[in-house]
């Protein structure tokens, strides 16, 4: 120790890391002393071993889950933005469509899953999973984006009218940039929901040969392979954190210079 205070930025990483190490140690020691059966709560070391042993299988499952999550997420962003722009163009379209978007959102995705599975066919479980995850993930984009496209300085709108700007120019030069902060914050929510959607949908729509992490968890649960279950969970959490980190970085990068939220 040189007696210097830890700088704030270092503290941001060191504090949670230290807590994690302490917790893991306590977990390891506690499980060993109390002799907890491994299928109830495996020690961290056992989880690590199980993870390394089944690494090829788990990683390819994680790849599958990540791919489907990204597909659902990108479709949710594209769909949400597109529909929100349509809403801005026409109050009629909004009035007609919005209630159905809400209905789609509030209906539990688990309940729709069997129906979607019938429609796309049991052989196309992946399509069903992406579709279901999309349903869960697109609503935050739609509602935030609709709000953002409206949150436009009335003075700037007057200016666009003064110089004879077209509707398209107003959307492209004014409304879309103004909505960007709203979109980016919706994307963070939507990405998390995409992952939740993919996992839940695979629980329901998956079968014996399903390749995703959700099914690895079910499989390991059935066989009481609790260490492997933990390893799969860890990977899921890592995917979630990774996607969130990328989006946070993107948000900071795009907004840092002009938006209050990123300063």
């Amino acid at each position: 120790m040189n007696g210097k205070l830890i700088p704030a930025s270092g503290l941001r990483w060191l504090a949670p890391l230290g807590l994690g190490v302490v917790a893991l140690l306590a977990w390891e020691v506690g499980v060993r002393i109390a002799a907890v059966p491994v299928f109830v709560l495996p020690a961290p070391s056992r989880i690590l071993v199980a993870g390394v042993e089944s690494a090829p299988l788990l990683l390819s499952s994680a790849g599958y889950t990540l791919r489907l999550t990204l597909m659902a997420f990108l479709a949710a962003v594209a769909g949400g933005v597109l529909i929100a722009v349509m809403f801005t163009g026409s109050r009629l379209i909004e009035a007609a469509l919005y209630p159905y978007a809400v209905v789609l959102q509030v209906t539990p995705v688990v309940a729709i899953a069997p129906l979607v599975l019938i429609w796309v066919g049991v052989d196309n479980a992946s399509t069903a999973v992406v579709l279901l995850a999309w349903i869960v993930a697109f609503f935050p984009v739609l509602s935030n984006m609709t709000l953002g496209l409206r949150a436009v300085d009335p003075g700037l709108r007057a200016l666009f009218r003064l110089y004879g700007g077209s509707r398209w120019q107003e959307v492209w030069r004014l409304r879309l940039p103004a909505a960007l902060p709203y979109l980016l914050s919706a994307m963070k929510v939507s990405a998390g929901l995409s992952l939740v959607g993919v996992v839940v949908a695979e629980f329901v729509a998956g079968s014996g040969t399903s390749p995703g992490l959700a099914w690895r968890i079910i499989e390991a649960g059935n066989r009481l392979q609790t260490p492997r279950m933990f390893a799969a969970l860890l990977l899921l959490a890592a995917i979630g954190v990774g996607v969130f980190a990328v989006l946070s970085w993107l948000e900071r990068r795009l907004l840092a210079r002009w938006h209050d939220s990123a300063r």
Binding site: D153, G155, L156, A158, L159, F160, R161, L162, Y163, G164, G165, Q169, R173, L174, P177, A178, L180, R257, W258, H259, R263
Partner: protein, 254 residues
């Protein structure tokens, strides 16, 4: 002498808000080429509505607006707030009117350089609004209004949010621009000090319903500076206008 065609004129214009409140009642005014007309009045006398009518952004309920400036770009407008696009650079904000009008990129670059020069913002072209002071942001808004080389410039309390020193400097620079460019200005303000310093003519408005109660010429030449601010005639005129304002407000209140 041939009669001069006014740049813009309102004839007996009446305007109501959606709730039925009369914002302006039988207002007539004429802006002659090269004039600098200040509109003063208390809050709620319809100054901003009047400016919006002059800009053609609002259509009057009754009466007639006649104008020689009708194509976009012949009229520039500066609002109370700078109303800049926060995501766009100074240059892009200034370029906006030209882009909306579909001007070719080559012209736009030249015009931006010219407008930036006029308001003294050289070197800040790539800054974002958030990186500028309030006075500089207002300069960007003025450059944006000038970039189309308008014949008429409408300003709605543009310097109200600035500190006094900055406001006085901006007033002087605005006058210099107005004289150089030979444009016509209509300038809304609630500061008599500012009105008397800037204008060739001051229109005094009264509230409820909004109307013009006095049309007072300012008998001083240009250029104007601190000497005019310290002049006895300056103070006298300010006092006279203040009396007019008070009278207008008393008649209106029950």
């Amino acid at each position: 002498m041939t009669p001069v065609v006014p740049v813009l004129a309102l004839h007996e214009v009446t305007h109501q808000y959606p709730g039925g409140v009369v914002a302006l009642e039988r207002v007539s005014l004429t802006l002659h080429p090269g004039e600098f007309v200040a509109l003063v009045g208390p809050s709620g006398c319809g100054k901003s509505t009047l400016l919006s009518l002059l800009a053609g952004l609002t259509t009057p309920a009754a009466g007639r607006v006649s104008s020689v400036v009708r194509s976009p770009g012949e009229l520039g407008m500066v609002f109370q707030d700078p109303t800049l696009m926060p995501w766009a650079s100074v240059a892009e904000n200034i370029a906006l009117p030209l882009r909306l009008m579909g001007r070719p990129a080559r012209d736009i670059a030249d015009r931006i350089a010219e407008a930036v020069q006029q308001v003294g913002l050289a070197g800040f072209e790539s800054s974002l609004p958030a990186e500028l002071s309030g006075g500089m942001r207002m300069r960007v808004a003025i450059a944006r209004a000038l970039v189309t080389r308008p014949r008429l410039l409408l300003m709605d309390e543009p310097f109200a949010a600035l500190d006094e020193l900055t406001r006085e400097r901006m007033n002087e620079q605005l006058l210099a621009l107005w004289r150089d460019l030979g444009i016509t200005c209509a300038f809304v303000t609630h500061s008599l000090y500012e009105a008397v310093f800037l204008a060739t003519r001051v229109l005094v408005m009264a509230p409820r319903p909004g109307r013009i109660i006095a049309d007072v010429p300012v008998p001083a030449g240009y250029p104007r500076g601190d000497a005019w601010r310290a002049d006895a005639a300056f103070a006298a005129l300010r006092g006279e206008l203040a009396a007019q304002l008070r009278q207008g407000a008393e008649v209106a209140s029950p």
